[in-house]
Each structure stands twice: as structure tokens, then as C-alpha cells.
């Protein structure tokens, strides 16, 4: 189990949080996760296959994500894919990370780094 994922109080690595975010609202297979992250960030964040499956393995070991069976993709329907879903523990870790970011954003807002007065 990776130490960086095993401690929910520690900040999650960026790729880990992006993958958890991709799984919050739906079960997805590997490529669908990569595509969701790239689409959501307008291509600013692109996760490659090596990073994706390395991170997924650690998330599986840590119990933040679980396998949701194999089935053909609804769009391509060419080959069976292994789907992943977020667990309750994974949801809690993602929520903790989102709150941490929210707190940082509040500080940035108060210090006028972001907000209506910055242009």
C-alpha cells in the first residue's frame, strides 16, 4: 500500500485526486477515466496509461477504488474492459481533499489572489 494514499489526512497526489474525481459520478474503465480527466480540464491534465494503472493499483490496494467487473464499452463495444468504481473510503478521501483545496481557495480569495477584483 502506498504511504501517500494510506494516510487520508495527507494531501492526495494530483493524478490520484483526478482519478477519484472521474469515478465520483460513474463507474469507468481506464480509457474512460483518462478521457474524462482530459475533457474536464480542457486537455490541461492528461494522464497516460502508465500513471493511470500505477495509480489505480495503489488505489485498489488502499481500498479507495474497487473493480466493478468487465463488460464491453457502450460506445466502442469492441472489447471487454475492466470497470472501476469509487468506494465509500475513496469518496471520503476525495471529499477531504476537496475541502482542503476549498480552504486554500478561501485564503487565496481573502488575499485577493482570485475573485472579482483581480483581472
Amino acid at each position: 500500500m502506498s504511504r501517500e494514499i494510506a494516510e487520508p489526512a495527507a494531501p492526495l497526489p494530483a493524478a490520484t485526486f483526478q482519478i477519484l474525481l472521474a469515478l465520483v459520478d460513474a463507474e469507468r474503465h481506464g480509457y474512460a477515466i483518462m478521457k474524462e480527466v482530459a475533457d474536464r480540464t480542457d486537455g490541461a491534465v492528461r494522464i497516460g496509461p502508465g500513471t493511470l494503472y500505477g495509480t489505480l493499483k495503489r488505489l485498489l490496494d488502499a481500498g479507495l477504488v474497487e473493480e466493478a467487473g468487465e463488460r464491453a464499452d457502450a460506445e466502442s463495444a469492441d472489447e471487454r474492459r475492466r470497470y472501476y468504481r469509487i468506494t465509500k473510503r475513496g469518496m471520503a478521501a476525495a471529499r477531504t481533499e476537496a475541502r482542503r483545496m476549498e480552504a486554500m481557495l478561501v485564503v487565496a480569495w481573502e488575499k485577493k489572489l482570485i475573485g472579482p477584483r483581480t483581472a
Partner: protein
Amino acid sequence: MSAHERAFRWLLARTAHGIPRGTREMELAFRDLYRAAAGRTTRLWLETLVDVARSALALRIDAARARAGELTHATEGTMKIMAMVTMLAGAVVTASAAFEGWAGGVVRHDAASALAGALGIVAGLLLVGAGIAILRAARSAAFGARAAAVGCLLAFVGVTAAGRMSVFTLLLGFGMPLLLLIVLSRGGRTPAVAA
């Protein structure tokens, strides 16, 4: 399968071997990326090479950590068995030395046999202690087990010098601590027996 997919499979085979699962899914993901790239293969390959180079080390460390975990479990099993065998041998040596010491020292009034019996009892109890030390799996357990084994050997040198003892007891008294010292030296500095 396209030449690009074959090249990616070749790359994975050289960077991600030892990873029990996931390579097939990585190939599928690359195939989807290749299709989505729609001819922009230079950028795809640059991103892929950077990604594989960055993640390969982490994947290998994870795989090595998993193998080390399996090895530790095997060592734990060996040490548990060794601890139980040592305690059993210690109990047998104690009982045997007590009987032989009583027979020689009390019945035949032979002081040397009585001394040999007493030393044999001490040696047997040291073996039992060594087994308990291994099972405790504390930080100082390896040192304690080794010290007990050496103490048992010294006691049996005294037993041999002091008087007569059966071949069976002598074999156990010399053989068991020697075997224990060999196993401890091969199994690492701390006998990792998980509680």
C-alpha cells in the same frame, strides 16, 4: 494490431515486467489513445514515452514491495515452525537431562553425572527460552535467541566434560542450537513472527 500498438507492447514488456496485471489494460488504453490521436502520433508517442518512463520506476518499486511481502510471509512461517521445534527440543533435553542426572547422581551417587544433568537442564531451558524469544518477535528477540543458543552450546560442552549423557540428548543439545543459529543467520537479524 497496428505497428504502434506492437511498439507499445514491446515498450511495456521492457519497462513494466513483473507487474502481475494491468499491462493488457494499458495496451487497450493506448489503442484508444492511438485511435483518438487521429494521426498525431508524434505527440502521442512523446507523451507516452514520458509517461512510461515516469511511471515505470514506481510500478517496479510496487512490484518489488509485493514480492518482498510474500518473502516476509514465508520467513515468518519458517521462524514460527523453528520456534516450536526449538521449544519442543528444549523440553525433551530438559526432561532427558533431568532423568539421566537423577539416575546417575541420585541413584548411583555420581557427582559428575549430577552436574551433567544440572547443566543439561539449564541447556534445555535455554532452548525453550530461545523458542519463546523467536515467537515474541520483539526487536531484541534475535539477540536473545542467539544468546540462548550459544548458552545451550556452552552448557553442553560442560555436560560432555562433566560426565556421561545419552547420545540422543547430546545430539539434541549440540544439534538444535547449531541449527537455530544457522536459521537465524539466514532469516535476517530479527525473526519476524507477526503476532
